[in-house]
Symmetry: C2
Subunit: 299 residues, 2 copies
């Protein structure tokens, strides 16, 4: 079985179509890697690519993309709403199949070493690849952004994990990491009261005392005039979909509010959904690897 | 994307290990086809193989298996508890991915034509491939078994779909068909009263007025001292898992009996389980083909 890894590089370019096209072409240049999706946002001036492939080829395509970005994106001229510090701003690797989180950390380190050696871009390792607790959180790593990085790299605690204490003049600094698959999941409430969604989001999210692997905010869906709890599921093994759904359901009940429905945004691993089927159908002793037919077809 | 087809040939040999080994070897002889599972039952004197592969190679391996069986299994000497009429008794093709039921009917016909032309075995098409309503049901097609087939083939309504009105002297007659994926699914009740399981089975199964695509019986799990509703899900698109689970739940409630759990026996297609997640999580507008990550990795 091939070890399957997902890679989701974020580039600081969301406006120049020629550069975006070049990134797409580069993303498709390595056999064994599929470009699942890419989207560009002009106001953020940022593009997010989703690639998936075996553990070797994914490293090659990641390097080629960082190289292309370093040659074609100039951070000294970059403006956009989204915080950023590098031409390739973040480069996370995610275990998908027959590979552990630890192996993805090794991939992150191998790619980081090569990026720094061949392109001269300093690297911070983040999330599961972080070398110190305060570097786990991407927002902390990126604080100061491109403009503040020259100074930040000179601070005692902020020597990069790879490279010297100075930025690449135009490509800045890149954060390379490993993390669990993340699913964007929204639950729509049968109410137009945003405060209810906000209250529930606060209850369930880890940062305010809820579930550790849950990020959540309340948002208003103006076109449907309903409030939504918008969630990032950051560890589907330790915090599955059914748990957040049932928790939101019983918290909403306090207000006499029901659930209209939920939304999976973008891609989700089959296992995240099948775990929910196992729970609700009370399936005993289910062996995901052996009993799901498609698992015998891959690689 | 490769078109993926499952094939589940049943052979009238469950005792002679040399012949079973030969079938296994033949099953593995075509690249692009995986032997997912095979099991042999001595009292039935029968073996069931499960293969999966692309739409072309699956036809080749199916033919090779029928040929091997015709050369190594002699029905004139066969005894066993399970009804049978041929060395390869039944040969169903099941659509798994990016292929329709109609295309599997075409595969069944193409393979049947070749089997008859090269091996001289007469063929009945059954289930979705049947050419007349009374041939849909395998039990009706096989009635009379190997010993009764010479006479049956001469009856007005029972000319084979391929071949002359006479059996292959040792390999008999084979039924070739196409059908939807089938899942064996059991629901365990919190009672030791078999009659409750029998009553619920009768309510839900199509043959006694329940759901058309449901087969069910009550059985006693002696080791756990609980009654079980044992179900065959014969069309998961039209009769999904959540529907039988919820129906058994509300029917059991009449007796004050709860559900202890359920069991998926053997393999199930990912979509059958993800459909249940969609129902229970009330997911809006979910696109199975596009939103399940693994669907972008296959073929």
């Amino acid at each position: 079985m091939a070890k399957i890894v997902e890679c989701i590089p974020n580039f600081s370019e969301g406006r120049n179509q020629a550069v975006i096209d070049g990134l797409v072409e580069t993303a498709k240049s390595v056999p064994g890697v599929t470009l699942l999706d890419h989207s560009s946002d002009a106001s953020h001036n940022r593009s997010v690519f989703t690639l998936v492939g075996d553990d070797q080829n994914i490293q090659e395509v990641a390097f080629r993309l960082v190289k292309y970005a370093s040659e074609n994106i100039d951070l000294t001229k970059h403006q956009g709403e989204h915080p950023r510090m590098g031409a390739t701003d973040v480069l996370p690797f995610v275990p998908i199949k027959d590979i552990t989180s630890e192996e993805c950390v090794e991939i992150a380190k191998t790619v980081s070493e090569r990026i720094n050696r061949e392109l001269g871009i300093p690297i911070f390792l983040y999330e599961d690849a972080a070398t110190r607790p305060e570097r786990k959180n991407l927002a902390k790593v990126r604080k100061g952004q491109f403009e503040g990085m020259p100074e930040k790299l000179l601070e005692a605690d902020w020597a990069p994990d790879y490279g010297e204490r100075k930025i690449h003049p135009t490509a800045g600094v890149t954060a390379v990491g490993a993390r669990m698959p993340l699913v964007a999941y929204n639950i729509n409430l049968d109410t137009d009261d945003l405060e209810i969604a906000n209250n529930i989001a606060k209850i369930i999210r880890g940062s305010s005392g809820g579930y550790k692997y849950c990020k959540a905010i309340g948002v208003m869906l103006e076109d449907r005039n309903i409030a939504q709890v918008s969630i990032n599921m950051v560890n589907l093994e330790k915090f599955p979909l059914y748990r957040v759904f049932e928790t939101v359901r019983f918290e909403a009940k306090r207000y006499g509010v029901g659930i209209l429905g939920s939304e999976v945004i973008g891609l989700a691993p089959a296992k995240a959904l099948i775990d929910a089927a196992e729970y609700y159908l009370q399936i005993e002793d289910f062996d995901y690897g052996k009993q799901v037919l498609e698992n015998h077809l891959l690689g």
